[in-house]
Every structure is written in structure tokens, then in C-alpha cells.
């Protein structure tokens, strides 16, 4: 402590007024202290108790002061109390003393052995990751914590050295050897573990990876009371923060590709990351077959996800534009491997809408109207006659094949380009399946669809449909297909047999399909 000699007078009055100011302030601000001094004589158990004892040791007469106040002190105590409080102000020249008084003052301080450094009261040790006050730690606990802190400090020093070394290397256009990077990765894991232990901070895998040091993550921006706010896991919150950052800077790089995989693994329905992934794949001109390979595993693990199938469609478009459009053999191979994989998925989930949808897109795009396609669909129908998705696919391959259909023809309208032989074949197919399960609506709808495409009237299947009911309106009425009655009401209507047509609808409404009573009555009202 350096004390400059200054020419000022220290009067007793000055000292007294400073002291009483302190006393008033302390009484006003810390009334609780006055009643909590009795316990401090026992040996300290916790860090906080030790701090309190040291406080009293370095603040003479403080405890007496707290007990009796300034007026209650003996004159000697008052002198000690005041002198000890003035050490810092005098040393810092906040109180100006004359040279003589100054000398006198320091003589007194030395004589009384007053501590020059006084500890502050209520020293804050901070809290640990559980929110516990470190002041309540026992000594061995604090020792352990201090050791961890020291380790973290040491690691931080090495970590900074790494950053400097890397910067120096990069300024020369070089990269650090892999060994250094591996060491740094290990170091960051240790640092992360220590930070977690000491402060509860959870730096995720990206924050720990030197590869991502240059990216400043953009965290979620949302009010605290946002509606339907989701408590993200730390890994997800970190990953999407980095995702926002690299998307904002339009970075398309291998590390971003890995990041998308990381996010997709946690949330495959995240459409944004899929759209971004496709941009990366196309920007980096990555192998489409590799990407499809990767996608296959994802698809098998997430059967109901539809982003996967749109991504696949984008890959197909990209692949077609770059390669397949000019290489018929490659296109055929690709179509074959794709339909093989699709069949694998459909075996697990026979009516998956998005998979069927992709299949149709693929066939159109690659012009893959093969007999093989018809055959696989046929076997799926045979596995389950009621698989309406398979029937829909059959309708698609038969009536959208450009070699014998009109482009842009609506599904319910007549297409003169469809050959009669194909119509005959499809009608026979539907009829054969209807016979196996007459109440299966899929095959009836297919039959009607084929007739509409072929411009053939429903009456052409009137005889066929009539076999599924008998003795209509009689006591022993028998019906094995409500769809046959439905169809025949239209046939009878067209043939002018209104009463018969009505009877079909009445029987449907009252007996065979009464939940649709309203509809059948509407149909009745439409009969003229």
C-alpha cells in the first residue's frame, strides 16, 4: 500500500461523522446481521461459514458494533473501529490528511495491527449447476470443484493455443495435422464434461466440433409464452440453430449435408431440412445413387413419412435431367431398381399413399409402362382384392399409358384412343375379381371406370351384375352385392324400366345399405 503525504487536517469531528454515516447505513441496510452473529465462534463447517469468520477476523470490533451500535462501543473500540474503516479511504486519498496527521494515522494502524485488507461481508460464492449456493459447500466439496475449475482453465489455455495455431496455419493456406484436430476434439469433450459438471452448461456435439467453429448458430427466436412452445432437447435445439445459420448463408457443403442427416434423424418430418438437403445434393453434384441408397434406409425406418418421397421425386427429376433422359438403358435400370425398392416398402405398408404416388410419378417420368408393372400390381390385387390403392394403380397404368391413351383425358371421361382389346381384358379382369368377392367396392368401381373410359354403357355389364341378386321385392329377396343393385338401377333407368330402377334404390335404402338412405332417396328423386 502506497501512502502519499498530503497536507490535510484530520479532526475528530471528521472521523466521527464518517463513522456514524457508516453505522447508520449498516443499520438500515443489514438489520438481519445484528441477530446472526452468535454462531460464528464454532469451527466453520461450510465455505460460507469460514468466509463469515474471516470477515470478522479482518473487521475488528465489527461484531461488537453489530451488537451494540456505535454509541455502545467503548472509546477504545470506537477508535479501532474508525481507524480500520479509514484505511482504504486514506490509502486511496479519498480522505485528505495533512502530512503530520497522515503519519500519525499510519502509526496508529501499525500499532494496533489493524488489517489493511478487509474482507467484504456476505461474499458470494455463486451457485452450482443445481442452483445450490457454493457457500453451503463443505471444504472437500469446494476442493473438488476448484480442481475441476483448474482443469477447465488449463484446457481452455490449450484450446486457445489450438485456435491460434490453426489460424496461423490457415493464413499460410495450410491445415493442422489430423492429430492436432483429434486432440482438440477430445479436449472439447473434456471441456464440455467439465462445463456440464461445474455450470450445467450443455454444449452440443456441433459446438464441440472444431469444424463448426466459424458458424455462429442462430438460436430459436420466440417469446417465453409462445403458443404450443416445444421444449427441444439440447441436441435438437443446437442442430436447428446451426441449420438456420448455414441456410441463411446459403452454404452447400459436405458438412451441411451431414447436418441435414443429423436433423432428419431427430425429426424426419422437418420439410425445410429436406428441401435444403436437395439443394446441397444438386449444388455439390453428389451421386444420386448414393443418395438413394441412404434414403432407402431412412424410408424403411420411417414408413409414414412423406417428405422422403418428395425428396426422392426431386432426385428423380434431377437424375433424369442430367443422365437418364439421354441414356435409355440407365433409365430402365433405374426404374427397375426403384420399383424393386418400392415393392419392398409396399410389402410392409400396402396402401401407403405417398409411395404409390411416387411410383406413378416414376413411371410417367421414365416412360416405364412395362408389362412387369402390370404384373406386380396384379399380384398385389390378388394378395388383397380390397387393396384399392393397387386397383387405382392398375387404372393408372392401363389408362395413362401414352401409347394407347389420350394425354390430359380426365379420369371419368371417354377416351377413344383406348383399344377395345384392352377394354375387354380389363372388364374381364374386374368381373373375375368381383365374382370372388361381390361386395368388394374396389372392383366394381374399377369396372365402372373402365366402362366410362371405353365409352361403353353400364348396360353392357347388366347381365353380369344381375347375377348378384334375385327375387327383388319378393319375400325371398336375395342380394350378395349392393353395388350390383346400384349399377342395375342405372341400367334399368337407361332402359326405361323406371319401376325396376326404383325398386333397386328402395331396397338399397331400406334393407341393404340403409346408412346411405339419404343418397339412395336423392337418386330416387332424380329418376324420371
Amino acid at each position: 500500500m502506497v501512502c502519499a503525504e498530503r497536507d490535510f487536517t484530520l479532526t475528530k469531528r471528521t472521523l466521527m461523522s464518517v463513522a456514524s454515516l457508516h453505522a447508520t447505513a449498516i443499520r438500515q441496510l443489514t438489520p438481519a446481521l445484528l441477530s446472526s452473529t452468535a454462531t460464528t465462534d464454532a469451527p466453520p463447517v461450510t465455505v460460507g461459514e469460514r468466509s463469515k469468520q474471516r470477515y470478522y477476523q479482518t473487521n475488528p470490533v465489527e461484531r461488537r458494533f453489530e451488537e451494540v451500535g456505535f454509541p455502545g462501543l467503548t472509546p477504545a473500540e470506537k477508535k479501532t473501529y474508525t481507524h480500520s474503516r479509514l484505511i482504504l479511504p486514506v490509502a486511496n486519498r479519498q480522505v485528505s490528511l495533512s502530512n503530520k496527521t497522515d503519519r500519525e494515522y499510519w502509526k496508529q494502524v501499525t500499532k494496533e495491527g489493524l488489517p489493511c485488507r478487509r474482507l467484504k461481508n456476505n461474499y458470494s460464492w455463486g451457485t452450482d449447476k443445481h442452483g445450490r449456493d457454493v457457500g453451503t459447500y463443505r471444504f472437500e466439496e469446494l476442493k473438488k470443484r476448484s480442481l475441476s475449475q483448474a482443469k477447465l482453465t488449463a484446457l481452455t489455455v490449450l484450446h486457445r493455443q489450438f485456435l491460434l495455431k490453426r489460424e496461423a496455419a490457415r493464413s499460410k493456406g495450410a491445415e493442422l495435422p489430423q492429430e492436432d484436430i483429434d486432440q482438440e476434439k477430445k479436449r472439447r469433450q473434456e471441456m464440455a464434461a467439465l462445463k456440464r459438471e461445474l455450470y450445467g452448461e450443455i454444449p452440443g456435439p456441433l459446438g464441440n466440433d472444431p469444424e463448426w467453429d466459424d458458424v455462429i448458430p442462430i438460436p430459436q427466436e420466440e417469446p417465453q409464452d409462445a403458443l404450443a412452445r416445444i421444449a427441444y432437447t439440447d441436441d435438437y435445439a443446437e442442430a436447428v440453430s446451426y441449420l438456420r445459420a448455414v441456410m441463411a448463408s446459403e452454404e452447400y457443403s459436405p458438412r451441411c449435408l451431414r447436418l441435414t442427416e443429423h436433423v432428419i434423424a431427430m425429426n424426419p418430418g422437418h420439410y425445410t431440412v429436406w428441401l435444403y438437403r436437395f439443394k446441397i445434393v444438386s449444388a455439390l453434384k453428389l451421386s444420386i445413387t448414393d443418395e438413394i441408397q441412404w434414403l432407402n434406409d431412412v424410408a424403411l425406418n420411417h414408413l409414414k413419412n412423406y417428405q422422403i418421397w418428395h425428396h426422392r421425386q426431386l432426385l428423380l427429376d434431377h437424375h433424369f435431367a442430367n443422365t437418364l433422359s439421354s441414356d435409355a438403358e440407365a433409365a430402365k435400370q433405374f426404374a427397375k431398381s426403384e420399383t424393386d425398392f418400392i415393392s419392398k416398402i409396399l410389402a410392409k405398408d400396402t396402401k401407403n399413399y405417398h409411395v404409390w404416388s411416387y411410383r406413378q410419378y416414376l413411371i410417367t417420368k421414365l416412360n416405364y409402362w412395362s408389362p412387369f408393372e402390370l404384373a406386380t400390381t396384379q399380384s398385389m390385387i390378388e394378395d388383397d382384392l380390397r387393396n384399392n390403392s393397387a386397383w387405382s394403380h392398375r387404372f393408372f397404368i392401363v389408362f395413362s399409358d401414352p401409347s394407347h391413351s389420350t394425354k390430359g383425358s380426365a379420369a371419368t371421361e371417354y377416351d377413344p384412343k383406348v383399344p377395345g382389346a384392352i377394354l375387354d381384358r380389363e372388364i374381364a379382369y374386374a368381373e373375375e375379381k368381383i365374382k370372388l368377392a361381390p361386395q368388394n367396392q374396389s372392383s366394381w368401381l374399377y369396372l365402372r371406370g373402365v366402362l366410362a373410359k371405353g365409352g361403353r354403357g353400364l348396360d353392357t355389364v347388366g347381365d353380369f351384375a344381375s347375377q348378384f341378386f334375385s327375387n327383388l321385392g319378393a319375400e325371398d329377396e336375395e342380394v350378395t352385392s349392393s353395388h350390383a343393385l346400384d349399377l342395375m338401377s342405372e341400367v334399368y333407368h337407361k332402359q326405361g324400366e323406371i319401376e325396376k330402377a326404383k325398386l333397386c334404390l328402395v331396397e338399397l335404402s331400406e334393407k341393404w345399405d340403409p346408412v346411405r338412405e339419404g343418397y339412395w332417396k336423392y337418386r330416387l328423386s332424380e329418376l324420371k
Partner: protein
Amino acid sequence: MAASVEQQQQQQVGPAPPSTQQGASIPSLFMFPPMIRDALETDSSNIQDETVDEILPFLTGKEHSQLNAHGIPRLDKQRHVRFLKKQLGALPSMFVGADPSRPWIFYWCLNALSLLGEDLEPYRARLIETVRPMQNKTGGFGGGFGQSSHLATTYATILSLALVGGDEAFEAVDRRGMWKWLCQLKQQDGGFQMAVGGEEDVRGAYCAAVVISLLNLPLELSSDSPACAAGHTSLLSGLAEWVRLCQTYEGGVSATHGIEAHGAYAFCALGCLSIIDSPHRSIRRYMDVPRLISWLSSRQYAPEGGFSGRTNKLVDGCYSHWVGGCWPLIEAGLSGPEGPTAGPAGRPMEDTEADDSLFSRNGLIRYILCCCQDMSRRGGMRDKPSKYSDAYHTCYVLSGLSSAQNKWRLVASRADEALLGGDVWEVLPHTKGEQIFDEDDRIGTLHPVYAIPQHSVDAIRSYFSSKEGF
């Protein structure tokens, strides 16, 4: 199989007459498997039979402690409200799958709460602040902060903002950005992609039409729209033609051209067409209506009473809306504008008149109230009894319940085709035929095209109708 209906049922259930819990009267239609069943078993028929087995104890009252005289339990509004409010609160990390679709949660919950008569005012400020970071500078809303704009999440966000209402909510939308972004999504074939680089399907057509008409966006295409290359000049040009090609040979509507007919896409197609022009013009012009009605009607099964989404697929509560919501549009398409109802209080009660609906309202109501309510502490509505309730099903099951309980009519057609969504609709309680639910369980109503309350549609439309350009 020469047996009368009664005899057949005897064969199926044995000689003892069916007895229900608490002596309620339940039509046999909803108590027994269907009349006609094929002997041939396949995966589809097995799972269908299992579903009927699962559902029958709920339909016949065995799973319920209290039923009314028709064998129907009450709608436990309080329980479902509690469930919905919880869904809007803090969600645990297992909801991470919903991270890309949070705006949907807002819409599903707010819409369902509104149907149950809850005040949405307390959610206004929170919703606005929650969706703000989800809006992208390039236009549109993503599923969350930093996510690409998507038509589904944009649609859900706009509807949610309309639900809470108020100038501040409407002002949160960047209309110019929205218009520019929609121009990017418009494709050469007339349809819309869901996101830039995303899939093109009939959801896109519907969501875009809703957003354009609610925000009163200019229809003119920006010069950098990919659709310009095909000669399109308007956001809506070629859209109805594109939607038309989504109708399949079955009569239903598929996601895009040439796939399988699916209930959710039917609603999107009809909704889109009803915005482009009045339904009696557009639906008739662009759809094969007889086939469509036949297919929609086939979606309702007995004994379930509820709708399925595809041919030979299982009943699911959500189709109460997707298929159930098609009926008001179909009816308007068939009848055209009917003019206003007599008297200030609307039509007189029509208890004596027979129900002339195209579908079984009571079958649907029965399925919803008996099978779709989760009566455990959890609450909420579900697909079927073996499934967990969620916000999606709670919204769409309740929407379906509303459309079964109430009757929408097209009062007047728009004067000019260009007045998108400018038709006048009117809703009244459906009172024809037998009412099987307690009057207290009649819930709120939703605009048949926009699927939010009519006053919410009116408020947002009138706010933006004064805007020309941006």
C-alpha cells in the same frame, strides 16, 4: 341367402333380442355388422372386422356410463376444452415431430375452442407474437422460426389470425411478401407447389385460394413467376382445370393427377372450386358430380356411422370434416342460391319434416359422440377408440359434428366471378328428422369454405377488402 333383414340379424347375434345398456333405443343398423359380407377374407376385410369389433361396444353403450334415450353420451365440452388448452401451452420434447407444423396446432386448437364456445381473446396477443418470427422476409409463414414458408403452415397461420381477429392480427401479415411468394409457387400447369421446390397437390390449390381470397391479394402474376412461361397471367388461371384433373375414375379426388381418391383432397378440391366461383357453377363445371356424390356417400359405413377416407379403408373421425364438410358445398352445388330464409329468426322449426340430407347426419353424430371422445382424464377427440386423441382429430371431429348438427345454405351467389369467395351463406340448426343429441351439445358453426366461423371470415375479408394493391 334368402333371408329377411330381421332373420339375418338373428342369425348374426343369436336368438336373444339385442339389449342395450340403460334401455336406450339404438337403430339396429348401428348395432350389428353390415348385412352383406363376402366370405373371402383378406387383410383389408380382417382389419375392417377388427375395427367393427372394437367400435360396437362404444356404439351400443357398453363403454359408456351415461346415455340419453337414443343411446348417445353427452359431449364432454369441459374435458375437451381442457385438452385443447393444454395443447396450446408448453409441450414436452416428445412433440418435436410437431416442430415443422406448429401453426397447425394453433389453428386446430383455436378453431376447436371456438366451436366449443370458448373466448379466444386471451390468445390474441400471444398468437400474434408467436407467429411473427415464423413469417419469412420472402413472404409466407413457415412451421417455425427459420423454416421455409409452406402453404399448409401459411394457411393455418392466416386462419388462426382470422380466428383471434383484430387489426393487429391482420396487420401482422406481410401481404406484398405473400403475393410475391404465391407467384413463385404458381406452376406452369396451373397448380401450386406447397413450398418453393415442394410438392404440387390439391392442398396447394385450396390453401392458395383461401389465402388469396381472405387477404384480398392482387391476382396479377409477378413477372418472375414460373407460371408466366406457360402464358398464365393470373394466380388463379388454369387452377380449376388443374383441380378438375384430380378427380379419379372412382369419382373422388386425389392429391394430384392420376392417384387414388382420398377424402381430404375432395374437400380441398371443392373448397378451392367454391372460392374460384360459386359452387353451383364451378363444381358443376369442373367435377363429374354424380360420380363424386356417389363416392362421397360410399365413405359412410354402417355400423360405424363415421366416414372413411378411401375405398376399403377404415373409418376415422377426421373424415367427419374432410368428407362431412363436402356435403354443404355439394348441396349448394346442386341447389344453387336459394335466397334468404323467411322471417328475422330464420326458418321456422322443422321438426315434423323428414331429413332430406344426402348423408346420415345421425350416423355421423353417433360415431362422433360414442367413439371419438376420449373420456379419460386426457380428453380430446380421436380417430377411433384404439387411438390417442390429438389436436388434429379434436378440430376435425368437432368440425364434422358441427356440419352434421347445422345446415348451411347458399343464399346468394356473387355478382361477379371475380369477387372471390363473395357468396352469401347462411347457417341454421338442422332440425329435420329425429334429433338424437342433447340440444346443449349443439356446437358452433364454421363457414363451409373457410372452415372458421363466418364472423371471422367476414371480419378479415372486410378488413382487407378496402386494400387495393398493397
